[in-house]
């Protein structure tokens, strides 16, 4: 019989983040599909009360928390100690956790400590009798596998967008506060804060409805034989502003910036989507001046509706990768769209 442990950390505001609530839905669904399975809820953070309260109606049989200033910040050493303690206290055989940056860093190490196995970025699971099977991508999304494991504990981290966020009324629950003491060896790291990468890093908006992707075409010579960087920059920024879109980029475009060429100050390699970049989730995506080559399109895997603007009717997008391709000059068309927004 399995004991499914859902693990989360509080966000900086003390609440449970969206990806955590989504993973909680996954954990509760899993529990209902696995005959006789128990569900436990575990959390860490500076103060875990608000977050625990918000999820108290999830039906867990037990609640565990590790709380205190030592556990406020995302630090490997303290996170690993806390999560290990929760896993042991809960007797977890299956662990379901959100694939946040904080957990992506620490969860493999916790699995190692418990002699368990881990599958990250799980995109779905099914139960066949009493056998759990998970799906995940391999080779940068060029392949999808369904697999099962008999070794326990089995850790699963779930990406955002796979499940609906959990919502439900609160219930009165009793929480076991676990005492985890950190020696000096676990305090060698101090988290000092956040830093935005460049002046306009706010161009990355994970919650935006639309991902707007710029390709290297914006920096190429246009029909008049000239390069129009200022115009390109103002067309892109104008659009982002009106559409409240998140900005993505092809690798070629951000590589140009890092090689010290002219290009756009508002974009860095953090904007890059694709095989060696990000794979963001947005309901819609609009690609501009980008060819739609395979390594780039990997970054679009979790983009719902896809449209592209390209001068070339035979660009990669036209080969079954986009829903609509507009054969047009993006400079002109994007300005016109912006006016209508």
């Amino acid at each position: 019989m399995e004991t499914i442990l859902f693990l989360a950390h509080t966000d900086d505001d003390g609440a449970l983040g969206r990806v955590a609530l989504e993973a909680l839905t996954g954990a509760t669904q899993l529990r209902s599909q696995m005959p006789g399975a128990k569900l436990a809820f575990g959390i860490l953070g500076a103060d875990t009360a608000t977050a625990t309260q918000s999820a108290s109606g999830c039906g867990a049989d037990a609640f565990y928390a590790v709380a205190g200033v030592d556990f406020a910040a995302s630090r490997y050493a303290s996170d690993a100690a806390a999560l290990e303690a929760i896993c042991r206290a809960a007797g977890a055989t299956i662990v379901v956790a959100p694939a946040t940056a904080r957990f992506n860093r620490v969860m493999p190490g916790v699995a190692q400590r418990l002699n368990g196995r881990i599958d990250t970025h799980v995109s779905g699971f099914t139960v066949n009798g009493d056998e759990l099977r998970v799906q995940r991508g391999f080779y940068r999304q060029r392949m999808v596998a369904t697999l099962t494991r008999s070794v326990r504990p089995w850790f699963l981290t779930v990406d955002g967008g796979v499940f609906q966020p959990w919502a439900g009324a609160s219930a009165a629950v009793s929480v076991q506060m676990l005492d985890v003491t950190l020696g000096d060896a676990l305090r060698r790291t101090t988290v000092t804060g956040y830093q935005a990468p460049e002046a306009n890093a706010q161009t990355i908006r994970p919650d935006a409805n639309l991902l707007f992707v710029a390709g290297v075409g914006w920096t190429k010579k246009q029909s008049d034989g000239q390069v129009h960087l200022d115009e390109a920059a103002s067309a892109i920024l104008g659009f982002l502003d009106k559409a409240s879109a998140s900005l993505g980029s092809s690798k070629s475009l951000v590589d140009q910036s890092s090689e010290g060429h002219n290009v756009f100050s508002f974009m860095s390699h953090l904007n890059q989507v694709g095989q060696t970049g990000a794979t963001p989730r947005h309901p819609k995506g609009l690609s501009t001046c980008c060819h739609g080559e395979e390594p780039h399109v990997v970054g679009w895997r979790f983009i719902g509706e896809r449209r592209a603007i390209n001068l070339d009717a035979n660009c990669g997008w036209a080969q079954g990768k986009a829903d609509v391709v507009y054969v047009a000059d993006a400079f002109e068309l994007v300005r016109k769209i912006t006016k209508l927004l």
């Binding site: 991508g137 940068r140 392949m143 369904t146 095989q275 829903d323």
Partner: protein, 269 residues
Amino acid sequence: MSTGFHVVVLGSLVPDMLQTLEPVQGPAGPGLKNELMLPAVLDPWAAHALFEAAHLASQHAGSKVWLVSLGPKAKLQQLMMSIAQKAPFELVAVDGSASGFADAFAVAEALAGAIEKIAGLDRSRLLLFGGCASASRDAGTVVQMVGERLGIADQFLAADELRVSPDGMLTVLERVEGGRYLVSDVAGPPCVVAWATGNLPEPPNNPQVGMLNMRGIMPALQKAASAPLASTGTTYVSVEVPKQDRKTRIVKDVPLDDMAREIADWIKA
């Protein structure tokens, strides 16, 4: 007193990123069709880690870089031809599968075992580097597991920058949600840094570096121990290529105003 860092970079080969891959089922589990024939490259994020390691070593006298690679010997040898000229390192080769389907737990065990055997490695000065995820297993798990096996409690994932203060303090910038960096200070080595792209361009080929590296590479390949990589209790039920199922509508020879209207309506819908 010894100075400088001992940087161990974990990195191996992956199929060229532009290659179309096809799964096949073998006796020991899934693999890639013609796996041994596919052109291979150094795993991109691990390559960034190697370039960052070489750069760091060049700035701190007494430092040394090892590249620990697990892969089929013959393929590793080919890979070395293309990367030996990029940065000075000593190769530690482990002969085994570089498949993305090999289990992270077993891979970490083999790599940690190889690191423990490195002669002259000063673990108090150790920086364990690697990529934040491979382009094969694509999981982002092995580097942390190796760190755990070596007892390193300070770990960082998806780093783009590592700064060293004059007092020895290290500052690490890690990518987190929303396009921001988390900034942390760590008292010094040993620590684990799994890199994202970092800030350095790919170094140009340097034939002199290549010649120096090659002297160690051939013996390292010859004495590479083999790692069987058991994947106890893991069953792959299916492996497939994701379907491309979009029917693309091409809109051309239409007035720009009409296109603009259609796109704006779609965005607002």
